[in-house]
């Protein structure tokens, strides 16, 4: 069996799936490719994918493609991602946690000691960093797939590209373009619904507007987002500054375009009642 270095004979690319702080939803997306999963497993070697039971070499080998889910929130994980990088030819981050720190990056705006105290009775048992950060803040990343969760079609495109030994093609435009392509009536223009679509990265297929809802930005900022203009428009559509603030700071709060625009700290909560 090849160890993943150059092999003289053709072989299936070795794929590994890694989890850091996350909900499992992005790696579950691979298991949600029900029609394609067995075909994918024929074309690539799922060499390490713990949740699917592919224990293989216990994650100690080298891999042609590493799919990385989750953000870095502990000193141990900050070390582990360097090790994963060193053993991966191509490293692709999957989802908002891995590309922007995820919802758990809301701690970055707060005092993590206080957070630990709110949730845990014995804070001394908890080992955590003060921040939740993207994989790219720690190691070089070859491609970032956006979304909370990622889109199945985009994931398959990445795996198919790896199987074919070519780079994947993933576009960086905004949800607005997808909305037009889907033939949706603009929810903001027609109904006055606040929508983050103009500044949000494409990939979902304009899901929320298709369900009569404004985009809530789960794919994070597009390549060149106009955050200020979007914030002004959200205000015009009835959101107060605090609501705009919250809308911009949810699943991708620590993405570079958004972390600087936190302009109002959240109200101080009272002492816990339970």
């Amino acid at each position: 069996m090849s160890d993943g270095t150059d092999a003289a004979t053709p072989r299936r690319p070795r794929v590994a799936v890694w989890k850091f702080a996350s909900c499992d939803g992005c790696q579950l997306t691979l298991l949600d490719c029900e029609d394609e999963l067995l075909a994918v497993a024929d074309r690539v070697e799922l060499a390490y994918f713990l949740e699917a039971g592919a224990v293989g070499d216990g994650g100690t080998g080298t891999y042609d493609l590493s799919l990385v889910e989750g953000s870095i929130t502990t000193p141990h994980d900050a070390e582990r991602i360097r090790d994963v990088r060193a053993r991966s030819k191509v490293l692709v981050t999957i989802g908002a946690c891995a590309t922007a720190g995820g919802i758990q990056a809301l701690r970055n705006f707060a005092d993590v000691e206080e957070f630990v105290g709110i949730v845990y009775a014995q804070p001394q048992f908890i080992s955590t960093l003060g921040t939740s950060t993207a994989i790219a803040d720690h190691v070089a990343v070859d491609l970032e797939l956006r979304g909370c969760p990622i889109d199945r079609r985009q994931l398959l495109a990445v795996v198919a590209a790896a199987a074919a030994g070519r780079p994947p093609a993933v576009r960086g435009h905004s949800v607005c373009l997808e909305c037009k392509a889907a033939g949706n009536v603009c929810v903001t223009v027609a109904h006055g619904t606040p929508c983050l679509g103009p500044m949000t990265h494409a990939g979902c297929g304009a899901l929320c507007p298709s369900y009569a809802r404004g985009c809530y930005g789960c794919f994070g900022p597009s390549e060149a987002p106009n955050v200020t203009a979007t914030a002004v428009e959200l205000g015009r559509r009835g959101m107060d500054p605090h609501e705009v603030d919250l809308a911009l700071h949810t699943f991708n709060a620590w993405s570079p375009h958004l972390r600087e625009v936190w302009h109002q700290p959240p109200p101080t909560p009272p002492e816990a009642t339970s």
């Binding site: 699917a52 630990v116 908890i126």
Partner: protein
């Protein structure tokens, strides 16, 4: 002749496979006696209950969904129930039916995932479902298709399978038309046949003869196999409303886990999930699921955790038939959601996630800002019971060598379908025989 294992040893599984999230197992044997068993949950904490403070009352449905990629709808439904309770709103009629339909989709997706991809390989001696598929491709393909039907329900009603976008406090952003639901009915008829066949398949597996005497706890509803709401009942006579939960269940924090352990006050560890639901509510199953359970020889006194796979299969039948009935009787609601106006107060709510009862509590101020949030997921309730079961299993099997004991212990853990991402606020197996 079998090699006799040493009197003192440590068994470790550093990263449990085929479970959701990151956990480990540690077993310590000293001088031939089992000293300690720990289900270690090292998944890093994400502090949901902390950052929910200061957010709007409209946000928990989207935010808490992110606790778990496998059961986001459970979080959405419990969050909605609790916030609506705080605001004095009840969602019933066709909107409640649509919520049950969405939830059926999640039960089908989650149970089919666990049964076919994570659990069945244990009984048939395969490392994973890919290896299982090499010998039994048709069986795995049928299982994947069943799972897909669950996801299709989630996509049509919820917008997408993971973290659906169409759920809001009070109902939905947009309710589907009967035309949109109709193709699902056809798919569900096939899925129902597959599910019934699945019950017969897994009932034929070999099960070790074990049992436990744990208190089983689940929501119970007068006329439904409870999913969305009801009273919490148990095999030992517990019968409480959701606002009483915090008075009866205590959470404690132990060193080896980022999940909080839950105990019933003055009663100790207990178990939620499919076995508990079946024990308490079997007489409210639909006719298809009741017939499948009877054919499999399953009755409410079942206490063998290895046979939880049969119960999950019966619940697959239940979810498929329930979804089918809801779709066949569907009339589009007049409005997609009930108006919800915030007010100061406390609300609690619970639903039956695929892995068991999931309780939420929110305290709101008068403009709808969240002042305090508490979430008790099923796996943190089950963790003490899983350790208890694991302890007795290992104690009775110390004659096995390390590899076999490790393999079977992992299977004991998988019997409970632990969801570790959920429980972290929540597995690695070490057996220490030193």
């Amino acid at each position: 002749m079998t090699h006799r294992p040493p009197a003192s040893r440590t068994l470790k599984v550093d990263a449990l496979a085929r479970v959701e999230g990151e956990g480990a197992m540690h077993v310590e044997v000293r001088d031939g006696r089992l000293h300690d068993v720990q289900l270690r949950i090292y998944e890093p904490p994400r502090f949901f209950e902390a950052f929910l403070r200061g957010r709007r009352f409209t946000e928990p449905a989207d935010i808490t969904a992110r606790i778990c990629g496998i059961c986001p709808v459970a979080y959405q439904m419990s969050a909605c129930a609790a916030v609506e309770d705080a605001c004095g709103v009840t969602v019933d009629g066709p909107l409640r039916d649509l919520r049950r339909l969405l939830y059926c989709g999640e039960w089908i997706e989650s149970h089919a995932l666990h049964l076919y991809l994570l659990h069945a390989p244990d009984f048939l001696g395969y490392e994973n479902a890919i290896a299982l598929a090499a010998d039994h491709r048709d069986r795995v393909t049928a299982g994947l298709d069943l799972k897909k039907v669950g996801n299709e329900i989630l996509e049509v009603v919820g917008g997408r399978a993971i973290h659906p976008v169409n759920v809001k406090i009070g109902g939905f952003y947009r309710v589907p038309t009967p035309t949109e639901l109709r193709p699902l009915a056809e798919r569900l008829r096939t899925a129902l046949d597959t599910a019934i066949d699945t019950v017969a398949w897994v009932a034929g597996f070999e099960f070790p003869e074990v049992g436990h005497a744990l208190e089983l706890v689940a929501l119970s509803h007068p006329t439904e196999y409870a999913v969305v709401g009801g009273r919490l009942r148990s095999t030992e006579g517990l019968d409480i409303a959701s606002h009483e939960f915090a008075d009866r269940v205590v959470e404690s924090h132990v060193e080896h886990s980022t999940a909080l352990h839950a105990h019933l006050l003055e009663r100790g560890e207990y178990l939620v999930g499919p076995m508990a639901r079946f024990a308490l509510n079997a007489d409210r199953l639909g006719p298809e699921a009741a017939a499948a359970a009877a054919a499999a020889g399953l009755d409410p006194s079942e206490r063998n955790p290895f046979r939880s796979i049969v119960v999950r299969a019966v619940e697959l039948v239940q979810a498929c038939s329930e979804a089918l009935r809801i779709i066949e009787g569907y009339e589009r609601p007049d409005r997609p959601a009930v108006e919800v106006t915030p007010r100061a107060g406390v609300g609690t709510g619970w639903t039956e996630a695929p892995r068991g009862t999931l309780w939420h509590r929110y305290e709101l101020d008068d403009d709808g800002t969240i002042l305090d949030a508490t979430i008790v997921p099923p796996t943190s309730q089950n963790q003490p019971a899983i350790e208890h079961d694991l302890f007795h299993f290992v104690e009775g099997n110390l004659h096995l060598d390390d590899d076999e004991l490790r393999r079977r212990s992992e299977q004991v853990i998988r019997n409970y379908d632990p969801c570790i991402s959920c429980a972290t606020h929540f597995l690695d197996l070490t057996v220490d025989r030193s």
